[in-house]
């Protein structure tokens, strides 16, 4: 055998490829992590509060206490992700040192840097970042993100923003594939994306990394919708543990994600679940309450 190479982009992006078709669930303690794992989650996101509680609590939202992250890592055998504030180099390095499997450089937390994101290519641990359009997606990949997700509007239980962001990225990719090569630099300028990545997306006809849905998934039908729109998988934040029966919601959302086009099964999965999390109408949010506008 030759030498082992760690932290290559193939190893970091590959980890996200193994999560495809799966559901990643937000958890705040070991008990929730075990429920998520038993329900068939492909990973858990260890947090101090789920996004809807972050909204309620207000103030500054930071990286979770390492005690919680460690507790979750010890409780399950599936990968554990954790969130760092946008641009917070030290939080990210702390999570990496703890051996977290993936870091979400997340707008759900209060940004530490309003100008710059992390240079994620410098880390061995892979990163996932949110995006609302192709320019944002390619800027994050340019910085070294190995996985993307829609931003949606976290903690609202309202799918409309995640739908908007997934459709936007995919329709921009469709437009890009029809461009001739001499139009690509202007296209790159207009969307604010690195030229080399614009060229790559045109050649691939797709993003070079996995793109999940996130920010507002509350029901099995929401998860299925996002898969129909081309998501590679689903993050569920508050939707599981803020519902009436987390076990049932967790299992139903996992099955719905795999069987997103089997509508008879989806009908069955959606029965007798109890109440989903309470939703928020996006237009009722004040502009400073919109998490998706953080870190562009």
């Amino acid at each position: 055998m030759s030498e082992k190479i760690i932290g290559s982009s193939r190893v970091k992006r590959g980890m996200a490829q193994m999560q495809k078709g799966g559901v990643i669930m937000d958890v705040v303690n070991a008990e929730q992590a075990r429920i998520a794992e038993a329900a068939g989650a492909v990973a858990v996101m260890a947090l101090e509060r789920v996004p809807s509680d972050i909204r309620k609590a207000g103030g500054v939202a930071r990286m979770a206490n390492p005690t919680i992250v460690e507790e979750v890592m010890n409780a399950v055998s599936i990968p554990v992700m954790a969130k760092a504030r946008i641009g917070h180099i030290s939080e990210a390095r702390i999570l990496e040192a703890m051996g977290v499997d993936y870091i979400d450089e997340s707008e759900v937390l209060t940004p530490a840097d309003e100008e710059y994101h992390l240079l994620k290519s410098e880390y061995v641990v892979p990163f996932v970042c949110g995006c609302r359009d192709l320019g944002e997606a390619l800027r994050r990949i340019g910085e070294g993100a190995s996985m993307l997700r829609t931003k949606g509007e976290p903690g609202t239980g309202n799918i409309v923003e995640a739908v908007r962001h997934m459709r936007k990225v995919n329709s921009q990719i469709n437009v890009l594939t029809t461009k001739s090569n001499d139009e690509l630099m202007t296209f790159a300028r207009d969307i604010g994306a690195p030229y080399e990545l614009v060229k790559e997306v045109k050649e691939l006809g797709a993003l070079p990394v996995v793109n999940f849905a996130a920010g507002g998934v509350a029901t099995p039908a929401d998860a299925a919708l996002m898969m129909s729109l081309g998501a590679d998988g689903v993050f569920v934040g508050s939707g599981i543990f803020k519902s009436e029966s987390p076990e049932k919601f967790a299992r139903a959302i996992v099955q719905a994600t795999t069987n997103f086009e089997n509508y008879e099964l989806l009908a069955k999965l959606s029965k007798d679940l109890g109440e989903p999390m309470k939703g928020i109408e996006i237009s009722h949010l004040q502009s400073q309450e919109r998490m998706q506008d953080r870190g562009l």
Binding site: M1, S2, E3, K4, I5, I6, G7, S8, R10, V11, G14, M15, Q17, M18, Q19, K20, G21, G22, E37, A38, A39, G40, A41, V42, A43, S77, I78, P79, E96, G99, V100, D101, Y102, V124, V125, P126, V254, Q255, T258, N259
Partner: protein
Amino acid sequence: MTKFVGVLDLQGAVAEHLIALRNLGVKAVSVKTAEDFDGLDGLIIPGGESTAIGRLIREQGLEEVLRIFYQEGKAIFGTCAGLILCSSDKSHTTEDLRLGFIEMEVERNGFGRQVASFETYLDFLGIDRQVEAVFIRAPYIESVGPNVKVLATVDQKIVAAEQENVLVTAHHPELTEDYAVLTYFLEKIV
């Protein structure tokens, strides 16, 4: 005759296997239900999360179909999570599915967490050059039964093996364009 191979499509790196198979001139389909097994010469259980795939196999009612497919002597290839599911490992809880298609005990995440995931070139018995191999939170094979042939090791840990119609690897051939191991599998289909 064109070989006809299915990729179990419940969760994980399904598209990558389908692309690789099609590049090799194989007729490849994704397999979600019992009916999808009709006429297959071989099946790949892809990489993903073994707990999630195992649970979905049961919920989709595919455990019995898989066992019949195995008993008929059809070729089966498990990569990473697929390796774990094909094993006869007894160290797991009864919640986690183990199909017992190949007699071996497995250490899940045996090489550590994601920050220890790696790529390398691997000596592989039966392939006359080193193969590109990507290991993601990979398991290794702790011990094998008398009828299991060991095909590759990393740091003295077994990472690939076969027993009759079943091939397993801890790495992900589908993440590279090196199709040597996939070709080795396809040769199992006569």
